[in-house]
Subunit: 192 residues, 2 copies
C-alpha cells in the first residue's frame, strides 16, 4: 500500500534548465510564479508553486507545484510536494541539520494552515511569500483554513525568517487567470 | 522525480486482518494505539498512528503510522500518511464528497500544527484524539508546533466534530515507552 508524490514531466524538464544561482529574492519569486502559471496552462495542478533555494547563494534545489487533483491527495499542496522532493534529493527529513546551508522556501502564495504547520518540521530557515492569504481567498475562493492568528511571530520565534509581499501583483495575476478559467476550487468542505 | 509514501509490511498485513466493523469509539482508539505501539517495536517510524473509519458503522478503511524517519519525509506524520492512503483507496482527494459516508479520523495523539491544518482539506468529518498535545510534548519532547489557540472551535465551525481524551492513559503509555527507548525525537529545529 503506497502513494506516489510526483512532479509532472515539464516541471522536471524546467528544473534541469534552471540557472545555477538566482541572486535576488525578486528573481527567485518570478521564477516560482512562472511555475505556478504553467501549472494552470498544462493543467497539472492548482495555481500554486514553491521553490527551495540556498538562502545566501540563491542556488535552486528544486521548484515544485501543487498536485492535489492529479494525484488525488489533499495534502499535495505546492509546499508539501516541494519540501518532500527537496528532502528526497538531500536524503534527509531535516533541511536544517548541521552542515547544511540555510534553505529558503519561496512560495507564490501565503501558506495555508497545513503548509504553515509543515514548514517548521522541514528545517526551512526562511520563507518568502508572494500573494497574501487574503488575496488567495478573495481572488479564487480557495480557503486558507484556520491559520494561526500570530503566524509571523510564531515563525520568527522559531528562527524562521518571514518575507511577505514579494511580486504579489504578479502572483495575483496568476490567481485571477485561474479563477477566470472556471477550474475546480478543491477543498474538504464540498458538503457543508 | 518522485517520492513514495508507503506503509511497512506489518501494517499492510494487520490492515488485512481487521474486523469488518468496530462499533465503539474506545475500541477504535485501542486498535489505533496498538498500531502506534507496534510502530516503536518494529522500528518503522515514530510513536504515532491514525485510523480512518466510517463514523456511523465503525468499518475501518485504513490504519496507518508515522513514517518520518524511514521515508526521510518530514510531513509523513501518521495523519498525513493515513489520509493519503485513504484517498488512494477511495480514488479521491475529498473523503467528504457527496455520496460518501462520514469518515472519522482516530488519532493516538492530538494533531500537530501541520496535521491540524491538513484534516479540513481531507474531508474528514470527525476527529477522535488519545493523548493531548501537552502530554505529547511533556512525555516525549516532540514539539506540536504553532497550533491554533482555538483549534477545537475552528474545527466545529467547519463542521468537524472533535472528541478528546479517549484512552489517553494508554496512548501516554506508548509515548513513555518511546521516550524511555532513547529513540530519536525528530523535528525541524535541531539547529536553533
Amino acid at each position: 500500500m503506497h502513494a506516489i508524490i510526483d512532479l509532472p514531466q515539464w516541471v522536471i524538464d524546467e528544473n534541469e534548465k534552471l540557472p545555477k544561482f538566482i541572486e535576488s529574492i525578486e528573481e527567485r519569486m518570478e521564477l516560482v510564479i512562472e511555475f505556478s502559471r504553467k501549472n494552470i496552462r498544462y493543467q497539472t495542478g492548482g495555481p500554486f508553486a514553491a521553490g527551495v533555494f540556498e538562502k545566501s547563494t540563491g542556488r535552486p534545489l528544486v521548484i515544485g507545484v501543487n498536485r492535489v487533483i492529479p494525484l488525488n491527495v489533499s495534502s499535495a499542496h505546492a509546499e508539501i510536494v516541494t519540501l518532500t522532493m527537496a528532502q528526497k534529493i538531500l536524503g534527509t527529513f531535516d533541511l536544517g541539520q548541521d552542515g547544511m546551508p540555510d534553505y529558503q522556501l519561496v512560495i507564490s502564495a501565503q501558506p495555508c494552515a497545513m503548509c504553515y504547520g509543515a514548514i517548521p518540521w522541514s528545517g526551512i530557515r526562511s520563507v518568502v511569500i508572494g500573494a497574501s492569504g487574503k488575496q488567495v481567498e478573495s481572488l479564487t475562493g480557495f480557503d486558507e483554513g484556520p491559520v494561526h492568528p500570530q503566524w509571523q511571530s510564531e515563525y520568527r520565534r522559531r528562527g524562521i525568517e518571514v518575507i511577505e509581499n514579494k511580486r504579489s501583483a504578479d502572483a495575483c495575476e496568476v490567481l485571477k487567470t485561474f479563477a477566470a478559467s472556471g477550474a475546480k476550487i478543491y477543498n474538504g468542505r464540498q458538503r457543508p
